[in-house]
């Protein structure tokens, strides 16, 4: 009888451990997926801020020299902005949908989401320099 109980406990423990292992694997997989997208978004963010800064410096220099912004330059700025808006929008959409789906299906509680954030950040540190 005692042996049976012992085997039962061992099997139960194994099942719980394998389940945790599976969750951990799933977490790593999800974090990998999210980190890849977020890395892309972080790189695009840097590009966006750099472009905005370049535009600002160009405008500052015009203003300092009391030169007007030409219609052609203004159109060029608009086109740069539009292109970034579209690229950012498409990527943002993809990230939002991925995150919503992961949260709806796997990460329900604030604690689980926090764990997911941390796992994602860990991957980001590795892949997104």
């Amino acid at each position: 009888m005692k042996v049976k109980i012992l085997i039962g406990v061992c099997l139960g423990s194994l099942a719980v451990m394998s389940c945790q292992k599976m969750d951990q694997t799933q977490l790593e997989k999800d974090a990998q997926l999210m980190a890849k997208l977020e890395c892309e978004a972080r790189q695009l963010k840097e590009e966006r801020f750099k472009a905005a800064n370049d535009i600002r410096l160009m405008e500052d220099s015009l203003a300092k020299n009391k030169l007007p912004l030409s219609a052609a330059k203004s159109a060029e700025i608009d086109s740069v902005k539009e292109s970034y808006t579209l690229r950012t929008g498409v990527l943002a959409d993809k990230i939002t949908k991925t995150m919503d789906s992961l949260f709806a299906n796997s990460y329900h509680t604030p604690e689980e989401r926090q764990q997911f954030d941390e796992a994602t950040e860990k991957v980001l540190l590795k892949i997104c320099q």
Binding site: A51, A52, R56, P68, L69, Y84, A92, T96, M99, P110
Partner: protein, 452 residues
Amino acid sequence: MKRLLCFALFVALLAGCTTTPEVVEPAKTNNVSDYSADFLREWMKLECRIVKETAGFLPPQASRAFGYVGITAYEAAYSGIANAKPLAGQINRLLPATMPVPLPLNVRYHWGMVVNAAVADMMRKMFDKNLSAANLEKINQMETANYTAFLKTTSKILADESVKHGQAVAQAIYEYSITDGGHDSYLNPFSRPFTPVTGVDKWVPTDAKNLTPLSPYWQKCRPILTSNMTYANPVKPLEFSTEKTSEFYKQAVAVYNQVKNNTPEQVEITKFWADDPFATCTPTGHTFNIMTQLLEETNATLEKAVVGYAMLGIAEIDAFIACWKAKYDYSLIRPVSYIQKYIDPNFQTVIGTPAFPAYTSGHATEIGVGERIFTKLFTNGDGNYTITDRSQVQHGFAPRKFTNFAAMSQECANSRLYGGIHYEMDNQNGLLMGRGIGNNVLSAIQWPQNVK
């Protein structure tokens, strides 16, 4: 025997006359709180995307678009919320007589369909002439997809009545919005031609593209609550001076030193809250995104969602009107212009300075209203709530964590100092204005209590 036969025939006759043979069950409840808010949150995410992609939706115009959609959703659904009062009759010049009357409560509207139809219609109307074909298609698709899903749980007749009511409410709120002074402002957000006031302490252009400031007549828009303008009347800014011992000069030097000594974390905070170049749906959109996240993570029903979006919508509209009034009452010079002229000609801010006067900060004012409304809806009044703001992850920012809504709004206000965009007085007085408006929106309107 004959008597028995007659009795049996009589009973059979009676039974034959009855048109509803099934047992009548007591009516199930049909409250807005029985419905999921999932679809409404998706609408708000779509609105954020449309704001980003639609020309002319700068911060004041965006606050109006988000605000009226929130008002519409509530007004369409309030009659399905226990003890809820309509906004008509409570807010500035929205007369009950102009609103469609909901059918009696025994007509079982599908509240999801009512809100779906109302919000879809209002979004088409808000972005109207500048709405791209692609975004119009997105609105239509979302409306149809929700309708089709909801139709599985109601009859065609009730679906038609629900859609009809939602659309009628949207039409009524739209007509109300037309007369507010901000209608079609997205077609000329800078109200050009406009001649800015001049003076040593006055705003001057901060970029070569925008030589006149944004929406200089926005303060003339009709507030949703007139009393908000009283609560949001800031003290005068510090007296302008170039004297090194003056308080004004000290505020400018504080901006200068802050920017020079920013930590990498402070630079990141600046960009996080900046609702950055070409990408986000303005500060109001950011705060609406936070509301959406809070509703999702607290499993709020449609009831809490319509109340929350209406509270926030009203407060955001009035926050921008009040803030823009202060901006053009004083037309105060931006720190970058002052510092370059009197302290360091080579000074550069962390991010670009927006094209309108300094006092007070729009970011601080609008997050102040958010703070008060989140505190009311998601805490016991102390503002304590552990939130990880993930709304900017999509734009390349790490999530930011806060344990109190006041700490969150303070960081947003501070971010404008770190960025070199605002003086400290702009931020702190902006926050006070926003908090005043937020509190007033919560107390001046009879909102349903204990929403789920």
